[in-house]
Amino acid sequence: MTSEIDFGTVPDAEGRFGAYGGKFVAETLMSALAELESLYRKLSADPAFQRELDEDLRHYVGRPSPLYEARRWSDEIGGARIHLKREDLNHTGAHKVNNTIGQALLAKHMGKTRVIAETGAGQHGVATATIAARLGLECHVFMGEEDVRRQALNVYRMKLLGAEVIPVTSGSKTLKDAMNEAMRDWVTHVDDTFYIIGTVAGPHPYPELVRDFQCVIGREAREQCLAQIGCLPDALVACVGGGSNAIGLFHPFLKDEGVAMYGVEAGGRGVDTHEHAAPLTAGSPGVLHGNRTYLMQDDNGQIMHTHSISAGLDYPGVGPEHAWLKDIGRVNYVVATDDEALAAFHTLTRVEGIMPALESSHALAYAAKLAAGMRPDQHIVVNLSGRGDKDIHTVAEIDGIQF
């Protein structure tokens, strides 16, 4: 069925991925979005811009990131071979920087002097603050008060980098509220401010341009599979909050019909408990933060509180392209619970000496289950989207350890 779909033609001119996406924002922002879109069209076709971006990815981020076969872990599981795409080794410790570098270059070309960002786990905030420091841009990061507490280390990192971190006290005090506050700031300072959105959500053209910047993950992984394994992988696995690391890995493989794909949402305390962040698995379509997509909402269209052990997945929406990929059946969306993610965090740390972010641990947890049901001559690529240093406090707290 999906072989007839030209994945290169989405989104359409209105920014729609099937029924999803679009531009659902206040009128004040519509011109800014149009300006961004036209600049992006121009620059993405400009070889000089691509060169500038590639140089930065190579020398500043440290790309390409390795594709590492987790031999001991794969042996323990005894099924398919698991390969980790090491986005945790990027500068700043996660995939987020692939996108912030790209958007900061756009901001520079637009002559904007001030950048803003929302952040949940703090990884996108750190990646934005990092690029802002390098380009000499004023940087303000909005972060839910609850996340400021959970991610104290990243808050301090952002401050060291010269960013102002603004705790958001409205609503549920997490990522969605940080995004609301960033939109409010943008609407107020639209003339001099560039909003660096951290995921493949928000109004068009953000889902498209963030995807394009993150696709370096999948392009590299595809080449590395062919060179190192000698074939394409049988399955890809990535965690999905907003979904930028997942789309970055999946998108360059969409036409490869033999490659199965699994997006792993945050199952929290279980999708039957309401305490989770799995809109694709247990939500319904609606409109939030500039796009139509699957949301965690009640019967009255109010956005529900979410829960996940990982701040980066604690979001009630998801990128519109994922909503579309779910509906057309190209990607399977599944969940891993808090406990499963935590167990995977400990396992990978002890068996491979790699401490994964709790977000990425959701993908690892599902990959282990998937691998167990596959043959040893099959291959799974897991996006190890970030490193776990930032989560040490969370894990220690669960273990009852105080520093």
Binding site: F24, A26, E27, M183, R184, V287, G290, L295, G301
Partner: protein, 273 residues
């Protein structure tokens, strides 16, 4: 002719400007919204704008954000807002009422179901902050089917060609957002507003109301010299919240809200047009 068009025509005939107060349905309490609507009309309001509580009111400043949070905590939802309008209509068949809110509660109810329920309740128009003309086709078709108006925002950043696009989709009146920012922001510049309104009038014959940043009789009077209507939101919501915080009883709350609207009414009416 819609109730809104009729009201503007009537006001124009009298050489008066429309006063449009905003309140959030269910703030400060479920039972006080309808009495508040009547009190505002008694104090001189021409059109009522009723905010639909939403968990993520992205275009609101702190004052109205808190009103949404209070209304939600009181249990107010879109259905309750419709019930309130229905109850209001039992005593007031003339004052136009528009619902202002965000796309998702309406989307969740379904555009057709919303249009049917809203028009049956006596709602005259819908204003959704986050449904621009590019996304409005479906909802507009349903609103037209039941004879409701769709109120659009035009912002200081809207270029002329978009003004024309918006005008082509709008009915009732057009709401000009006087400042780049969220509701309750400051720094209102009357000359700048006048300039924008003149540009908008090149694209539409619809009445133009102005909101965001109008907080008292003086700022309302200034805007009334150039606009057809004045929207007062945060100042009124704050007035009610202050009265509640000071322990005013229900009749005290209504009186305090009525005083502000009456004050603004006098300011607008004293303005030579």
């Amino acid at each position: 002719m819609s109730r809104i068009a009729e009201r503007f025509q009537q006001l124009a005939g009298q050489g008066r400007k429309a006063l449009v107060p905003y309140m959030v349905a269910g703030d400060p309490s479920l039972e006080l919204t309808v009495p508040l609507m009547h009190a505002l009309v008694d104090a001189g309001a021409d059109i009522l704008e009723l905010g639909v509580p939403f968990s993520d009111p992205m275009s609101e400043g702190p004052t109205i954000q808190l009103a949404h949070e209070r209304a939600l905590a009181n249990g107010a939802r879109l259905r309750d807002a419709l019930d309130m309008v229905r109850e209001f209509r039992q005593r007031d068949a003339d004052t136009p009422v528009l619902l202002m809110g965000y796309a998702n509660p309406v989307e969740r109810m379904g555009y057709a179901a919303f249009a049917d329920a809203a028009s049956a309740a006596g709602v005259d128009a819908l204003l959704t902050v986050d449904i621009p003309p590019e996304e409005v086709a479906q909802v507009n078709a349903e609103l037209r089917r039941v004879g409701m108006d769709n109120i659009f925002l035009i912002a200081p950043t809207t270029p002329d060609e978009r003004m024309a696009l918006i005008a082509s989709q709008a009915s009732g009146f057009i709401y000009y957002v006087a400042v780049k920012g969220v509701t309750g922001a400051g720094n209102l510049d009357t000359a700048d507003v006048a300039d924008h309104l003149a540009r908008i009038r090149e694209h539409t014959g619809l009445p133009l109301a102005v909101g965001f940043g109008i907080k008292d009789a003086a700022s309302a009077a200034a805007i009334a010299t150039v606009a057809d209507g004045v929207v007062v939101g945060s100042a009124l919501v704050q007035r009610v919240a202050d009265a509640a915080a000071e322990g005013a009883d229900n009749s005290g709350l209504l009186a305090r809200a009525g005083e502000l609207v009456a004050e603004i009414r006098r300011g607008i009416d004293a303005t030579p047009s």
